[in-house]
Amino acid sequence: MKMKKIHGLARTALLGIATVFLGAMSVLFITPIVLTITNSFMSQSEIASNYGKIFESVTSAGTYVADRVNLKIIPDLVSFSQYETVLLKSPDYLLKFWNSVILVVPIVIFQTLVALLAAYGFARFDTKWRSGIFFAYIILMLMPYQVTLVPNYLVADWLGILDTRWAIILPGIFSPFAVFILTKFMRRIPSSVIEAAKLDGAGEWQIFTKICAPMSGGIVASVAILVYIDYWNMVEQPLVLLTNEAVDLHPLSVFLSKINAGDAGIAFSVASIYMIIPLLIFLYCEDSLVEGVSYSGGLKG
């Protein structure tokens, strides 16, 4: 009895340590996000005085620059002036934001659609040919950009779509990631459900649209989120596929680093605007995102 009590105490102490540890880690993990957002509410002059020694471009002759760099969590004076500049006075950033939207939205919609169809085809029957193709998809999915960008570039060149948005959108639509997760999900739909539908005289298209696609609703949402965040964060593809004059088509994810160098005053607010959308989606759909990620685990399916 006594032994058990001591054991229980030790356990409570361990759990206490674990809580403190996880709490400290959480603070570390959230700090960059919080700082970016709070700093976006600083006025240009406050940014200049705090970070002037880092972003020399923000300072002009006569601005006050503190001797030491101050990492401030809360601005002295909450100001919306940075947002005002970004949203009303400098159309360039809005244009880049729009570029991101135009690139990402079609990829998310069509990759999910194409993948949903393909997943049904792969999951319905598991023949030698099909599992061979599916295996090729997995290998393709595991290849880094250094491998896949070369074929992408060649095709874009042949089709004459290099330096246009299509060079990014088309390969994005056929990227195998969504096929992989959705197939794994559809394989778990019990065949009895499908057999029952067949007895009722449903054709393949009906089984797909009336049963399998609706049953996959939740997982489709999480796949769409994962695809979205992947492309919202893209850097490699635009750098290789949109060059010369086409740099005007670059998404904000690439352009942000140039703002950082040139116009740090408003960089925090642009950065905040760019991350607030995925963050809101995350807070709203955390569970479905977690489900999607869980499904991506394991290659054996």
Partner: protein, 307 residues
């Protein structure tokens, strides 16, 4: 009597045949579902990849003279490629083990009855959703030569380090990489831990096995395929870390941050198809070897619990 069974048998055979043809028809019909995807993948990935293989074996795309492996040998002798490969390998060797161990630790702790654990989980996952471009500013404020970390170092009596332009530069990138990737891997581990049958761990506890013993003897074999997957994923993501480096330091980073993707970008700029193709194929082969080795290890470890 004899006749009846005979008849039944032939009936059954006919049945089976009928079912088989129905199955084949069904299979043909379901084939159309993955045709769009297959056409797209063939056009944008598979077919051009065959051309990439061809380019890697000829002296230039126009004359098309077969030169065997000399493109690969030239690539391996190229100093820029060597440096890029070495830097990428170093980065992976440091970052990948951490990207497996830290999330595993977090996941194990989050499976316990800890107050506020759903809040902790949310926070630890959230970097997954944040575009890297949005936080590089903070990294710059922290690690710039005049940045906050150096202020602290000096205040504590140390000397300032130029983080992005010294041998420590990879460390700042490792931190950013971990910050971004820990959440995803943690979710995978939590899902795997939740999938371990309770009876098994309870039985082990009844047999008097300690927490550590239970962990290594029972949980690790169950987790082995997840550990494998997380490792592969982390290797791939460590190849993608160019993104972070580019956003922080631009086209011309410090020597130790010159990565394979920088090399590829330069080759794209000069349109050196030979180097591009042979580098892509070489990296593809290396990735397959890494994945193959990890699979073999997994098969050894997970043998006992294969269903």
């Amino acid at each position: 009597m004899m006749k009846v069974t005979e008849k039944k048998r032939s009936d059954r055979r006919a049945d089976r045949q009928c079912r088989d043809t129905a199955r084949i028809k069904e299979m043909r019909r379901t084939r159309w579902f993955f045709v769009p995807s297959l056409i797209g993948v063939s056009i944008f990935f598979l077919a051009p990849f065959l051309v990439v293989i061809y380019y890697s074996l000829v002296d230039n795309p126009i004359s098309g003279d077969f030169v065997g492996l000399s493109n690969f040998i030239a690539l391996l002798q190229n100093t820029a490629f060597r440096r890029a490969a070495a830097n990428t390998a170093t980065f992976s060797l440091i970052a990948v083990p951490l990207a497996v161990i830290i999330p595993l630790l977090f996941a194990i702790l989050l499976m316990e009855k800890i107050p506020m654990k759903s809040l902790f989980r949310t926070i630890l996952i959230s970097p997954l959703m944040v575009p890297i471009a949005s936080v590089v500013l903070i990294w710059e404020v922290l690690f710039h030569n005049n940045g906050v970390v150096n202020e602290w170092l000096i205040a504590w009596g140390g000397t300032a380090i130029d983080w992005f332009k010294s041998d420590f530069s990879q460390l700042t990138i490792v931190l950013l990489y971990l910050w971004k990737n820990v959440g995803y891997n943690m979710i995978l581990f939590m899902a795997a831990l939740a999938g371990i049958p309770k009876e098994i761990t309870e039985a082990a506890a009844l047999d008097g096995a300690g927490a550590l013993r239970t962990f290594f003897r029972i949980k690790v074999p169950y987790l082995s395929s997840t550990i494998l997957f997380v490792t592969i994923l982390s290797v791939i993501n460590s190849f993608k870390v160019f993104r972070e480096v580019y956003l922080l330091t631009g086209d011309y980073p410090y020597d130790s941050l010159y990565l394979l993707q920088h090399f590829m970008n330069n080759m794209f700029k000069s349109l050196d198809y030979q180097k591009l193709s042979s580098a892509a194929i070489l990296m593809g082969i290396v990735m397959m070897i890494i994945i193959g080795i990890l699979f073999l290890i997994d098969r050894k470890l997970g043998k006992d619990i294969e269903e």
